[in-house]
Structures are given as C-alpha cells and as structure tokens.
Symmetry: C2
Subunit: 150 residues, 2 copies
C-alpha cells in the first residue's frame, strides 16, 4: 500500500446543489430532525478571488450546513456569475455535486490531481482558508473538493 497521495482520504463533506435552499434546508431539517441552519452567502469576489475555468468570476452561492458526525452535508444554491454550481444545476437540476477532503498544501495537491487527469475548475478564498473544485468526472465519476484551513 502506497502512502495516501492527498495526505488525507477522509471524506468530511458532501455537497448538494439545490435550486431553492430555503425549501431544501427545511426538508433536511425536518426529515433528519436537525435544527434549521443559518443560510449564509459567500463573500463577494473582491474577498473570495474566485476563479472559474481560469478566469475571475462573480459567482456566489447561498450555503447551509448540517453537521452530522464526520461528514457535513452542504447545501449550495448558486447565485450570480458562472460556476461549477450553476453548471450542475442547469445540466442536472438538484443533485449531489462533490465530496470533500481537508488537505494541506493546496497548490501541490491541485498540481498532483491535475497530473492524474483531475483538473482544477474552480477555486476561491473564504475567511480562514480556501477551497478548490477539481473535475474528477472522467477519472473518478465525481467532482472533488479540497479544503485547506489555515
């Protein structure tokens, strides 16, 4: 067995794209018996420095998180500019979008995955860290998200 090449194989988040986050968050809350989470909006591009397909994007999203043990269920409603979130909603309607791993060394991990045919599609900063989505569709059958918290 070789060493894990992302440095971490533990799935910590599952992301779901939704058209109406208020309705979906209420349904998750009711069905799982969890408190209704706050719905937050991602920062503006001057803070996130978001890039989609290598270009700056004004994409933002409404987010809601359900914390259930090791895995956080993340609901994502895309708003504004082009994004992997909006693409998926347009092409597949409400649906599972990604699984996430927490890593250290974002630049190196992105380069590693790119070398394996899993290219970067979107990235951005948030308070205390950064994220990247990598299109694993061809190799893995899913988008991967990398999360690096400082």
């Amino acid at each position: 067995m070789t060493e894990p090449t992302l440095g971490n194989n533990i799935v910590t988040q599952v992301g779901i794209i939704v058209r109406d986050i208020e309705i979906k968050a209420r349904a998750w809350s009711e069905i799982l018996g969890l408190p209704m989470p706050n719905i937050i909006i991602t920062d503006t591009v001057d803070k996130t420095q978001a890039e989609y397909n290598g270009k700056p994007t004004t994409a933002r999203a409404k987010l809601a998180f359900f914390h259930t043990g090791q895995v956080t269920i993340e609901l994502i409603e895309p708003i504004d500019g082009p994004s992997t979130w909006k693409d998926q909603l347009d092409q597949h309607s409400d649906s599972l979008h990604h699984i996430a791993f927490e890593i250290k060394g974002m630049k190196e991990k992105i380069a590693y995955l790119d070398s394996k045919g899993v290219p970067l599609v979107q990235r951005g900063e948030y308070t205390g860290g950064r994220y990247a989505y990598l299109d694993g569709g061809a190799q893995l059958g899913t988008v991967l998200e990398l999360l690096e918290n400082d």
Copy 2:
C-alpha cells in the same frame, strides 16, 4: 431539537454510478493511494428479491468499496435489468448517486420517509441485511440509501 427521525444521521456511505468499474476503481486506488479493492457482483434476484418501482427486477450491479474512515466510497456499475443505478447512468452518466445511513427497522423508516415525500424506489436483500433507495430528489436533492444489517 427534535429526536433524529431516522434514528441515525451519520453518513456512512457515498455511492457513485460508473460505466466501467474496473477503470474507475483503478483511478480511485491510484489517486487516493488505497489498495485496489475486489470487484464483487450482487446476488441474483432469487437471493436479493430486488424490486424496482414496486416490481421484481433482475437488476444487478458490480460493486467496489473504498473504506476511508467513517465513510465508505462505493462504486456501482449497473448490469442487467432496470434499476435506479441504470436510470442515473442513462440520464446523468458517471455521477454521485446517493448518501447512505445505517438504520434499524427498515419497514418503519421507509414508511416514515414516504410520509415526508421521499418515496421508496428500489430495495433488496444481501447477505446479512437489506438496503432501500428512496428518491429524495424533490425534497432533499439526492437519493437516500438506508442500510439495515442484522
């Protein structure tokens, strides 16, 4: 906070539908640095008693499992008859399919979810337990799988 109504909110599995499980399993193995798993084939319908949309189905699947902490990543290649797996492959190509919860009391949990607008679409037996897929697309944005191990 109300009591969790499935009795368990811990995500234990993420399922991915793939067209060619050999190729995808090798990619997951290489990229995550995990051993190549055995690829198994689900039992025949006389053992699984599988039903899809309320009718018996000859649906089977090739399966591969990557165990990564609390969450198992399950690759599923549909074969043979009609199934939720084949529907998703036909409609969305390789893609995330479900998140799974382990529960007790399958009949009651299916009835509970049905009462919340999350209907049963497929069920079956396996050695030591049973599974059910419930179509949470409209309410939750994803298929849920319930797993009950005896």
